[in-house]
């Protein structure tokens, strides 16, 4: 809702001023196939900044932020504390419907691109992205200094699932850019959204979006589907496999 409102405001502003820009982007691959040999890959997003309407002047220098969000999931962050000499989980917070993958890619640090209010409003950067936590019966995002929020970001970043890179976007010419989107090996499967936002002079001037899918294919997909849809049969098959291998080994090794 908030995003929609922002978009509307931006659109209205865009209509009001004489000069405006349009983003044209293209993703190297809209489908990442996770196969048995998948060790991660890098997608490339190419794009150009076009004047809109064509006669209007461009206003470089531009800044570009690409935000990639993976399928939503709910995670619990737990904190340990010493109780009677041993370390116990004493406190926990649930992060509701947060992206399983979040990459904020830009051509320079987001804090230099726009002021804090703008970044906060547009949810740009890991510090400004909305991460709703369940605290009691409330669901709300906290201040960025909140220890649970900080730890959540840190742990997700350690796993390579969350990242903020100020070098991933490069301008090939003042209006042609390239963004490298890293997909780590442990990338969650599902639908991903890509939000591309263009800034000049600290203001958002254009935005566009794209999408990609991360899917399991071939044997992996077959096994994962079987495990989910035919749990009992899958379990029986696995148990049978265990017995067969056990029997096979005893036959082979019984001779000598």
């Amino acid at each position: 809702m908030r995003r929609l409102l922002c978009t509307l405001i931006v659109l209205l502003c865009g209509l009001g001023s004489a000069a405006a820009e349009r983003l044209v982007v293209s993703l190297s691959n809209h489908r990442v196939a996770v196969t048995s040999s998948f060790v991660g890959e890098e997608l490339v997003l190419f794009g150009t900044i076009e004047p809109d309407p064509v006669t209007s002047p461009l206003r470089p220098p531009y800044d570009l932020v690409v935000t990639v969000t993976g399928p939503r999931q709910t995670l619990r962050t737990r904190r340990k504390q010493r109780v009677l000499g041993i370390w116990v989980n004493v406190d926990s917070r649930e992060f509701e419907r947060v992206p399983s993958y979040l990459a904020v890619l830009s051509n320079r640090p987001v804090n230099n691109i726009a002021n804090q209010d703008t970044l906060r409003r547009l949810q740009i950067g890991l510090d400004n992205f909305l991460l709703p936590q369940r605290i009691g019966s409330d669901v709300a995002d906290t201040v960025r200094e909140d220890p649970f929020r900080r730890s959540f970001l840190r742990l997700q970043t350690q796993q390579g699932l969350y990242r903020e890179s100020a070098t991933a976007v490069t301008f090939l010419t003042p209006t042609v850019f390239r963004a490298a989107i890293p997909m780590p090996a442990a990338v969650p499967t599902g639908s991903y959204g890509i939000e591309v936002e263009l800034f000049t002079g600290g203001n958002l001037v254009a935005r566009t979006n794209s999408a990609l899918d991360v899917i399991k294919t071939g044997f992996e997909q077959y096994v994962a589907d079987a495990a989910r849809d035919y749990g009992l049969l899958y379990g029986l098959a696995t148990a049978l496999m265990a017995l067969l291998i056990g029997w096979f080994a005893s036959v082979i090794f019984a001779r000598d």
């Binding site: 996770v34 196969t35 048995s36 040999s37 998948f38 060790v39 399928p71 939503r72 999931q73 709910t74 995670l75 619990r76 962050t77 737990r78 904190r79 340990k80 000499g85 041993i86 370390w87 116990v88 989980n89 649930e94 419907r97 399983s100 649970f148 730890s151 959540f152 840190r154 742990l155 997700q156 090996a185 442990a186 599902g190 399991k216 044997f219 992996e220 997909q221 096994v223 994962a224 495990a227 989910r228 749990g231 009992l232 899958y234 379990g235 029986l236 098959a237 696995t238 148990a239 496999m241 265990a242 017995l243 291998i245 056990g246 029997w247 096979f248 080994a249 005893s250 090794f253 019984a254």
Partner: protein
């Protein structure tokens, strides 16, 4: 060579996992145990989620205990009647354990419970085994025969009612301790994600005075049935069994177990028990260390649900 695991959702090095299967299989074949208490922590260590690790290890243990059970069956070193008696209460114990597992998981205290039970069980059992085997070794040194089975030595356990005769094991004991042991093994196995062989073998030896000839084979039958049913249960309810991971572990495990069994047969019983005792004790200490020493990271993440 990397391979992507479909259920664990991450790539692993095939040779690393195969090597782990071989190593744990060797140890399990040598001592006649399933090796779950070693394999589960190892899998968690390489980044597989504890839930998937526990579920998948059960199928691996089923495979290696089946190999073992078959070879003991050929040697007639297996007491089916005793195994069935243990199983009847073992299943009840497993069900209770699974129930408590779910409850604790909801309370976020499962890791702690697993940690504490590993520490308590492994250090006590390990220490007991070390003490007993060192005494046996010293006794042989002093020229006395090291007999574990002392004929006529009766404990209070032998005074209990509902006596049953187990012909193959040549024991005449009450059904109550047999049932109790089966229940404890089933319960502990479900909570800790282990087959319980390293607990069952000493329990059968010390409490029921089952002769060493039949104890390992019998223990393997119990492990086989509980772990095979655990595989099916985990797959049917939580969809957590990773067949690809299981396959790699099994292949490594059964090969390792064959070589381990050969080494084990060459060694003297009390030496073997001392080694196993030391191993069990060391793993217990490792868990104690984790509980007591301040963790590198006080925070941890747990997946709740997608969406």
């Amino acid at each position: 060579m990397q391979i992507y695991l479909p259920i664990a959702d991450l790539p692993v090095n095939v040779f690393l996992v195969l090597g782990m299967g071989l190593a744990v299989g060797y140890i399990s074949g040598m001592f006649g145990i399933g090796g779950g208490f070693l394999m589960t922590p190892l899998l968690i260590f390489i980044g597989i989620s504890p839930a998937v690790a526990v579920a998948t290890v059960s199928s691996h243990i089923a495979a290696s205990s089946f190999t073992g059970a078959l070879s003991y069956w050929r040697k007639r070193a297996l007491d089916i009647a005793l195994a069935l008696m243990l199983l009847s209460s073992g299943i009840l114990g497993t069900a209770t354990g699974v129930w408590l597992f779910t409850e604790l998981r909801a309370l976020d205290q499962l890791d702690l419970m697993i940690g504490i039970s590993y520490v308590t069980l492994l250090t006590t059992v390990g220490a007991m085994m070390i003490y007993e085997s060192v005494r046996a070794i010293l006794r042989t040194r002093h020229g006395m025969p090291a007999t574990l089975r002392r004929p006529g030595s009766h404990t209070w356990l032998h005074g209990l009612p509902f006596k049953l005769r187990f012909k193959r094991s040549k024991i005449y004991v009450s059904a109550i301790p047999v049932w109790a042991i089966g229940f404890v093994i089933g319960f502990v196995g479900a909570i800790m994600g282990i087959g319980g062989g390293f607990l069952l073998v000493p329990m059968l030896i010390y409490f029921l005075r089952v002769p060493t000839a039949t104890v390992i084979g019998t223990s393997m039958v119990l492990t086989l049935v509980t772990m095979a049913s655990a595989t099916v249960m985990h797959a049917a309810t939580n969809h957590l069994v990773d067949a690809v991971l299981a396959l790699i572990l099994m292949v490594g495990g059964v090969i390792g177990a064959q070589f381990g069994a050969r080494t084990g047969q060459k060694m003297r019983g009390e030496r073997l028990r001392l080694l196993l005792g030391l191993l069990v004790f060391a793993v217990g200490c490792r868990f104690a260390y984790e509980l007591v020493v301040k963790p590198d990271d006080l925070y941890s993440l747990r997946f709740v649900r997608s969406g």
